[in-house]
């Protein structure tokens, strides 16, 4: 049936935030009229009376209908025309005399953006929807547009929720003596354009696993410092994340050259970074000190000519929501 905005309260939706508003803007260009229109169109024929029309509008709680004659759409009529006819005592007049023959329609394959523009321009309550051959295939109200957008947003929102739910229940859903999820990321030497991507992905993965924001920040900051160290000082390496139900272990390994004096490297402010690294805002010798303050345990081992291995452990406290 044809929907009018006032006919049913719109279901409660999650708060629409900025990102989703942008999404709505995208959706009005993506969605087509046929995806949101009402398909079961209530129609009248030209030989029915205005009194018949009154019953159709009343019973269906709608405010206008397309007029169809032998399968062909011939006009539109709205509640305004009905009121005027009733006022003038013309209830027994035929719809065919009172209907608007020059109606504005919208194409089924138009975007919602196009339809919204039509509503703004013509101030009609509804538009008949026609296919490429001009056949009536549906009817479109502003309520249909709003409902269509909300439905689509809810679908998008649900799919992210399901993704999060599945990820956060991985440890409960998979039974074993000990379940460990291992994530592995390569880090290239000197690549400051893509540097940080591994940490960014680690952050997103842990977010989906349901990590608490404070905990997430500690792991992200430490992982990023470790990734930056691989970028600046090594020939390249890897970030390996081991996620367990009670702890996250992040291991940053590289293939050399190795740290000559590990004790000294751990001192705050000690750095061997060249000037160009310092110009990028790094290399002040604070990285390992930062990592230490973010982790619950860390261990740095290095062999000259072979490489360096940094292990960082972040404990998840049971019941803390982390």
């Amino acid at each position: 049936m044809m929907g009018e905005t006032q006919e049913a309260p719109v279901r409660k939706q999650p708060l629409i935030e900025r990102a989703e508003l942008t999404k709505v803007q995208e959706l009005v260009y993506e969605l087509r009229v046929e995806q949101v229109m009402t398909r079961d169109v209530i129609t009248c024929t030209p030989d029915q009376t205005m009194s018949d029309l009154k019953e159709v509008l009343r019973l269906n709680r709608i405010s206008g209908v397309p007029i169809v004659d032998q399968g062909q759409m011939v006009g539109m009529i709205s509640v305004e025309s009905l009121i005027k006819a009733l006022e003038q005592g013309e209830a027994d007049h035929l719809i065919g005399e009172k209907m608007t023959r020059r109606y504005q329609s919208v194409r089924a394959d138009d975007t919602l953006a196009g339809a919204v523009a039509l509503f703004a321009r013509f101030k009609y309550g509804r538009f008949p929807v026609v296919d490429a051959d001009g056949n009536l295939v549906g009817i479109l109200t502003q309520g249909d547009i709003v409902r269509g957008l909300l439905r689509q947003l809810e679908t998008l929102w649900h799919s992210e929720e399901i993704r999060r739910y599945r990820a956060s229940h991985i440890f409960e859903d998979i039974e074993s003596e000990q379940t460990t999820l291992i994530l592995r990321y390569h880090v290239k030497a000197q690549d400051f354009v893509h540097g940080g991507e591994a940490s960014s992905k680690v952050k997103r993965a842990l977010e989906r696993l349901g990590a608490h924001p404070q905990f997430l920040r500690r792991v992200s900051v430490a992982t990023y410092e470790a990734e930056t160290n691989i970028m600046i000082h090594s020939h390249g390496g890897e970030i390996i994340v081991e996620a367990q139900p009670n702890a996250i272990k992040v291991v940053a390994v590289d293939t050399g050259p190795g740290i000559e004096d590990v004790e000294q490297a751990l001192l705050a402010g000690y750095s061997t970074a060249p000037d160009w690294i310092r110009e990028l805002g790094f290399g002040a010798g604070m990285g390992l000190a930062n990592i230490r303050s973010c982790t619950d345990r860390m261990q740095l081992t290095s062999v000259m000519g072979e490489g360096t291995r940094l292990e960082m452990v972040f404990d998840l406290t049971v019941g803390s929501g982390e």
């Binding site: 940080g196 952050k203 404070q214 920040r217 500690r218 303050s293």
Partner: protein
């Protein structure tokens, strides 16, 4: 303080194509050293910096920086803009120096990411770092 008020205080402009200017920041930090940003800021901080490379955005993403002001009239390169856009971090610019921007915002009542405050919070088990595991 929201981004709109900040722009008016520092005589700044929005660089990002679009941003919600009613976004609130609770405190601010001025730094050109990214390790300091990682160490001394909290989630919801406004960052003032003279650096414009993409690592500034990466750092901000990891540290939970809410918005960035580039000082001394610096314009970030396209790769920085693109990364900030994809991470949803609004970028602003001011022709004023770091000292002036910080001074104006501090005088307008925007709090600092106080290191002493942070240390005190960490001792109480509230801040970031080792002590926060129990929080």
């Amino acid at each position: 303080m929201n981004l709109k008020q900040i722009l008016s205080v520092i005589d700044g402009r929005l660089i990002s194509d679009s941003a919600d200017l009613s976004t609130e920041v609770e405190m601010a930090c001025g730094a050109d050293l990214m390790s300091d940003v990682l160490a001394f800021t909290h989630s919801g901080t406004l960052l003032m910096t003279g650096l414009t490379n993409p690592q500034v955005i990466r750092t901000s993403e990891m540290a939970g920086i809410k918005a960035i002001v580039f000082v001394r009239g610096k314009n970030p390169p396209p790769e920085t803009l693109a990364l900030a856009d994809s991470k949803g971090i609004p970028l602003m610019a001011s022709h004023l120096t770091m000292y002036e921007v910080c001074g104006l915002l501090y005088a307008s009542g925007l709090a600092s990411c106080d290191i002493r405050e942070r240390d005190a919070a960490a001792r109480d088990g509230l801040g970031s770092g080792q002590a926060s595991t129990g929080s």
